[in-house]
Symmetry: D2
Subunit: 383 residues, 4 copies
């Protein structure tokens, strides 16, 4: 028997929309799931946006304040897709109110924030799922399986890269995202957080790291009235960018493997160039989100001159079969979040976690904090 589960979405920007479509679509792709989400309410303080969301997706009600959700007995599960600086407060409150939470990465601004939410979730005995969505790509799931099965031998080293151009334009306005206080870190939380999660997902725990960070666009124009809500600003006063545009990092893993992680938000020429290359003593797996459905695989018994195959993912890989019946039929970004919604709802239905949890968020945030400290001290930091 399928039972209904009331859900709420707190924050209806892009990511709120993505969570919502995922709830709506989970039954299409995972009919065996024992719970069926019902869209109870959506919270957003931008005027009209909650109503528009309700109209579009069918939420029963809307709200301006997330505290209403915490108090709402119709709601059993909450998506927290508000800005990062609100993650901790909302996350803790929702857990304490007994709501299961699906919260976006990086879960707050610091490792302490992530830990606070994780502790609240643990104390409350609710489920907590975190939006490390790249794990959900079937190619990534397949990579993990190949590694776990020893198909590439003992893992030796990994390269993880997250390059984007979202802040590459020098006229990107100096919004709160570039401030330490409200934005926290820069590319560390935005992108490197995903990189740490991918590295851990594939290789296991990181034990030590040393990092370097840089700000390549040190000043940006403050948004003026004319530019408010726009992404470009030219007329305003220049103000300082306070958090990092770039990080480079060396990693050591508990397994003995080594790694390099890089992330940039100002990499001209790169649109979502997120990926990894894992090498082992017998092979390698290579992935790039831009070609999400492909996995480069080298395996065999040659060691030398062993070639790399381009594998297009198909029904045997990760959750692919829930979406397409034959291989190489493109899945999209939104589909990855349907998989994530399934993990969240299944966790609730079974009372045991599936997918990325708050423990993963704490590990990722701890590594990001270590990167910041290492970038200041110049020393390796042990995790």
């Amino acid at each position: 028997m399928v039972s209904a589960l009331g859900v709420a979405v707190v924050g209806f920007g892009w990511m709120g929309r993505v969570h919502t479509q995922a709830y709506a679509r989970v039954p299409h792709h995972f009919p065996q799931l024992a719970v069926r989400p019902e869209l109870v309410t959506v919270v957003e303080d931008v005027p009209g946006r909650a109503e528009e969301a309700a109209e579009r997706f069918g939420f029963a009600t809307t709200a301006r304040d997330w505290r209403e959700v915490a108090a709402d007995p119709r709601v059993h599960a909450v998506s927290i897709t508000a800005p990062n600086f609100l993650h901790r407060e909302i996350g803790v409150a929702m857990a304490e109110a007994g709501k299961h939470i699906w919260i976006e990465k990086p879960v707050g601004l610091t490792a302490a924030d992530a830990r606070a939410v994780a502790d609240a979730v643990a104390r409350a005995g609710v489920q907590g799922t975190v939006g490390f969505n790249y794990r959900n790509a079937p190619a990534v799931a397949h990579a993990r399986e190949l590694i776990a099965a020893g198909e590439i031998g003992t893992v030796t080293h990994v390269r993880v890269r997250l390059f984007s151009d979202y802040a590459a334009h020098p006229e990107s306005a100096l919004t709160w995202r570039y401030e330490r206080e409200r934005g926290g870190s820069g590319v560390l939380g935005d992108l490197a957080s995903h990189g740490v999660d991918l590295a851990r997902f594939l290789l296991g725990e990181i034990t030590a790291l040393t990092a370097d960070t840089a700000i390549f666009v040190p000043e940006r124009a403050r948004p003026t009235g004319a530019t408010a809500g726009h992404t470009r600003a030219t007329g305003g006063d220049l103000g300082p960018v306070e958090n990092e545009d770039y990080v480079g990092c060396l990693l050591r893993f508990a397994s003995g493997a080594r790694g390099v992680l890089e992330a940039s938000r100002v990499a001209v020429g790169e649109q979502n160039t997120y990926g990894f290359e894992v090498h082992g003593t017998k092979g390698a797996v290579l992935w790039d989100f831009r070609r999400m459905g492909e996995l480069g695989v080298s395996r065999g018994t040659a060691y030398q001159d062993q070639s790399v195959s381009t594998v297009f993912v198909g029904p045997g890989h990760g959750a692919y079969a829930a979406f397409q019946p034959g291989s190489a039929n493109a899945m999209g970004y939104d589909d990855l979040k349907v998989i994530e919604a399934h993990h969240f709802l299944r966790s609730i239905a079974e009372g045991t976690p599936h997918g990325a949890t708050l423990d993963d968020a704490v590990h990722s945030a701890t590594a990001l904090d270590a990167m910041s400290r290492s970038a200041e001290s110049g020393a390796w930091v042990t995790l």
Copy 2:
């Protein structure tokens, strides 16, 4: 004001499911659409499948016979996703019953079939949308715009390819798809139909062609009881494959451009290798469905040594902005059908066609018929 529109889906195999999810998701992506589809009924004679569809997607009722839909006043629009040999009968009947139809390619087994449905639609004054989904890829829409804007100069020639391995296994059972009577053509209807549509979409009308076809796996095992419903068969008697595995074709366009079209259903190593390369006097556009979000673009004023750029599609391309806010965030196959559903519903709402119509289906089917005749005669056939 948004008005509700009752829809039915006839045939709930893979494609029926894809249409259904598209109806469910159209409001998520196209909130400005003046009609909102309501899932009234689903028709399927495989026991239990209609009920499972209703459970999963929320159809109000189910049916075993499509004639019930034709007579159902709740239904205003019908998806025809039944096997090809039923397209004509169902399509004509639905149009005559005043239902708008969204029908899968190739619309019947022959050009005569497609024409019959097109005529019925025209007589009834209903809308008819056809499932030529590759048009809907933002990269393809962008290619068309570049060509139309003269960015690659005068088009000189095009290569269109549709290679798949879906029938490559010699133990694929000899189902009705390999029979002339029920399956009609082989790879012509399955894949080349898409190729003709893409060629026309990008370059305009084809005026003449010469083609060659081949059967590379001439016999397959008849399915036995044990293999019924399975895709592999080894024990059964061998029977003849009656329709073509492969087609190669030279094309001439009204514009003076030339082209080559190839399709194969037995191309080992190819998973959905569907694409085109259009060359013009000043540039080129190159696309491959396997990397759906990328378009190779050569344009400029160099003529010689002009390089090709890899453009990742983004909000400025086709319907991309209805799905993702930034470029290079993967869209999936199912998303293309959401765009197609939007075309269909918008056609109904506005009373004027959007997207691929039955006229396009007639043109495609006419070219396929010409390929068959040319393959027999060895002569060019004028369209």
Copy 3:
């Protein structure tokens, strides 16, 4: 014992230079060869060019007229790298004078020309090697071996493409190359000749074909005094281009395989895009000259969802080991001609042909003639 062999080069444009460097380098790479070429003389009527060649490469003497070479007892082997319209006369004369010849493709302007040279060579009992250099690429040699060994099963179809932009600029001057009388065919002889040879090398004999040709830049400016010797012309009168810019062709092979061959000299965005894709019942091999050292290979026992590996060529492939000790160390275009020189000299040393012969040239030229006739008649032509 290694014996010296006097060689001459007739025509010292780019290709004359390439032959010459190949003679000079053959001993570096093929020390086991029983003959060692000695550069006796070079023929060129552009003033100073022969002398410059002698200075650069060490020819003992120079000449203005190729007839001197025919009469020169020091010369045993001759490279014919003069313009195509001189191939027949020089080729026949050299053979009749008892000289072995290494002659560039397409060997004259017509199949009759190629046949005349082939007959003269056969009558004289000399060796005749033809410049179908793409055969010599180790990746191509490897492809042939894989096919011959049945690694891709029975070959079903092939795509051969030769796209270039060398005539893409509309201001390319109207030289003799665009005239029927002196230039013969256009892209057929220039590029499609290579395509036919590759197809035959990999798949065996072609039995029938149908083709279409087109001129996309119908007029070009005649070179004026100011533009003589230059490649761009704008001021001159416009005159008609008399031979084809483009050919598209369907092929049938004796084996039952099918194919498509295309060539263009006006393909903007394409620099030496020469390659093939051969499919068989169990796999495929894919090659592109632009990435000369890579071969795409799909083989195995999967039939469906069988991936393609990128194989970087190495010592086990073709003549690679004569050049580099480890795989993926780039070979260059000039190296391919060293391999060809080795074929020629080895043919002479052993008295038995190696590499592409005049018989291959006749087959290629016959197919090109058939393409021309088919393009006029619209009918298939049997070879």
Copy 4:
């Protein structure tokens, strides 16, 4: 007037052969060069190898001991292609004997070795050219020009990678290369040395770095009599690998740019995966030796969503025009060393250095030493 220059080659393994062919071919490609190398003598103590070299390439004499060359008045220039542990002794002696030297990287086992040779060259006033051959690739030269011209704005960060599988086989015999005393460092000298040179060539001086190294195959079998001279060993006792298989490194440049450098000799699936990606505030340049003739270029004024073009190198790039008349005609590895030979000989002819010098070798070796020290201390090392 061209004057003859007597050259000797010391050490005739693969690299000795590559230098020799380069001397032989320089006049073919650089006829304007004022000196013409004459192959005087070749030194090799493997019995018969010097004689075979003389036979193949035309050295006038042979020798067993490099000291004969130092004393030979016919020799003005010497290629030092002996094992690394002999670089210092031979290099210093040749310079002191007044010979110009073309010496292979990394020039000895340590920075002190490189400095000793550099000092000897400076004192003697001879020319010293170093085998950092990847600089010579036209695509790399073009990348440097684009960067220097500001086409990618201010350089922000670089990734340099040198991955190979040459030691990936666990049965590679434990030769002297794995010993500290005779082999010095492992992948640092072998591959990372090239990476440092490329980074400096493109971005200027490195000011600080932190590095991590690892040995992934800690033991290998000692070669037995049966395996002597072979690359595989299985029967012998296991002995320890003493130098690093892998290095990961973070870099800071004088310009403020950051970088990551990685190198591995045990990377299964990688054959000569050597390359870089340089990002700047307005664009990027990307190169991979495996596709030596291609350069990925992003430039323009878009900042965001700026695409990357695949540029095939041609006559306008680096020394390409000395080899091929049109773009995208493959150059090979050996061609790069012809360019390097030209740098060396031109340096001698003009009395002023061209190409990579011993100063570059010192800088590279200094960075490698710093990497070793950093890998031990865990701290950043200032250069």
